[in-house]
């Protein structure tokens, strides 16, 4: 027995088990491979006992080599510090476990270099499939990878990449938001999003917002991105005369954080002078002012749906790429009660 801080005790191998049980490697392999019905009961028993006695665990890497199945799924995340990503990842992970897979998560920190690096790494580890939530600049790499293994995009489309996509029905979410704001009497709206940066979900939300505004005569609306000039632009919006009560629509959780923070810095009494609705539902929304009204995404289900989509492809589904859109769920809180 090795003491602590003395690792490297070589592991028990299939050959040792075979020898201990007095059978061939092949039989042991059959035993652990689930082909137990091929073995005589007596043989199976001897193998079982040998495995037990030696505390044998098969080497998944070695198995994957010949078999081609590593039981590994890769996930590429643009930003692991974004709660949305983590929530989806949680869903994926849960689903993975249920199906006997393990998940390798790579975070790119929104960096193209790292995206390439991680894609190469995932490929080199023979992941069986890929779940991708990322910028997807340089789609070439993704494209070439997709010719080797199935792939599912989450939340963000990648141009010229014909792949399954799981995400939110952005159009519907925006409609819900505007319905709610309009009904609550808000008339002058500002959509706050992170810099678009080619991110399809952000673009879709902005476009849907503009389209909806255009078709609603009661509402006035404009779109703004967080960043350097955000504070000044927000102040202007607050100061400008408009057709009626003003409200912000944060296009995701990060934008909600930035918007709320900025409102405070401008000395705005939260949600009395201005309303707020945010896409994503973060656990702290209820704590800010009278609570932030949210459009919750079913993140867990998005995650499991992505994995199940992937598993379908792994099982040979050759249908043309699908797009799975979930609906957002409105959660009304204090931030959309005009005049506090």
């Amino acid at each position: 027995m090795n003491g602590p801080s003395l690792p490297a005790r070589s592991r028990v191998t299939i050959s040792q088990v075979a020898e201990a049980a007095g059978v061939s490697k092949a039989s042991v392999s059959r035993y652990i491979g689930g082909d137990r019905q091929l073995l005589a009961d007596a043989t199976a028993l001897r193998i079982e006992q040998a495995i037990e006695r030696l505390d044998y665990r098969p080497n998944q890497m070695a198995r994957g080599l010949k078999r081609g199945r590593t039981r590994l799924i890769g996930m590429l995340l643009a930003d692991i510090l974004n709660p949305y990503s983590v929530a989806v990842m949680h869903g994926v992970e849960t689903a993975c476990r249920q199906h006997g897979y393990s998940l390798v998560v790579c975070n790119t920190d929104r960096d193209t270099e790292q995206e390439i690096h991680h894609l190469a790494a995932l490929r080199s580890y023979n992941v069986e499939g890929l779940i991708v939530n990322t910028l997807g600049h340089h789609a070439g790499e993704l494209q070439s990878l997709h010719s080797e293994l199935p792939m599912v995009l989450v939340d963000r489309k990648v141009e010229a990449l014909e792949v399954d996509l799981v995400g939110l029905d952005n159009r519907d979410a925006v409609r819900q938001a505007l319905d709610h704001l309009q009904q609550r009497g808000y008339r002058d709206l500002l959509l706050v999003s992170e810099p678009l940066d080619g991110t399809s979900s952000r673009q879709e939300r902005v476009e849907a917002f503009k389209a909806e505004i255009a078709r609603r005569p009661l509402l006035k609306g404009q779109a703004l991105q967080t960043g350097d000039a955000f504070g000044a632009a927000l102040r202007d919006f607050l100061a400008a005369p408009g057709p009626g009560p003003k409200a912000l629509f944060a296009a995701n959780g990060v934008a909600a954080l930035a918007a709320t923070r900025q409102l405070r810095e401008l000395g705005c009494r939260l949600f009395e002078e201005i309303g707020l609705i945010a896409l994503d539902d973060l656990d702290w929304y209820p704590l800010v002012g009278s609570g932030i009204t949210a459009l919750a995404q079913p993140t867990e289900r998005i995650g499991t749906a992505a994995l199940e989509c992937l598993l379908g492809r792994l099982q040979g589904d050759r249908e043309p790429p699908r797009q799975v859109d979930f609906k957002a769920r409105l959660i009304v809180r204090g931030s959309t009660h005009p005049r506090g």
Copy 2:
């Protein structure tokens, strides 16, 4: 060339590269293994071109088999929805990348079954080392794993497991908190933590709190855990007469969320009737009331320290287990200004 949704194009292997370059597998292996100086320039060039032409990427699994180095690090997390865990993981991941490793993250959702499951999985994938932030019930599994590979605990000690530990100087953090509260005039304190549940860091914080209270005649203090009876207990605390201004001390981010939420439900005007300081610094703290005073943990550094510790062991460091403690950093906000 394969179209989309037609994966399974078999990858280029080392043999194909060897053939294309007109050399042996061994030479190609030397080339990609970094033993380039062993090769004649002309040979290296031919190999390089063949690799380029075929777009060859070595199979990391196969390499790991003989070599014993998978370049994989495993991380076991008790709760991936906890921002602290994610922040540490981010640090680990960054450090991994810098050192050429990839990270396999497993989340146990605080469930012992899953902990066992994931440990087995990580082992079967031949991770070279393990970073563990988990309950660590059933230390047996961990112990046996530790005889095979190096291991570092993060934040949480595991009984009877003599392993490196990276975390917070809880004693010092509690002292900082009480110094601050005391100096701000608070006299009647309530420590709010999640159920201890054998989690060493929580226990340490509670113990340190009690010890500090005992040595400070000015202060009165008690400890409470979130859960069913929390609301009622909190109300009692607020109603009971005390030696002076009251404040809560949330022992981590989750407790801070629970405490703040509960205060609101009790109709408490935040931070006017009662102060609050929280361990961990979450991005929404500034937005709640006048802002929540925090003791920030250097999560990123904790993550990188954990990995570096692990790498040290991988490089043969046989010293007795170390404990690396970082100091918390006080960030004063409105929640510790008595009387609003």
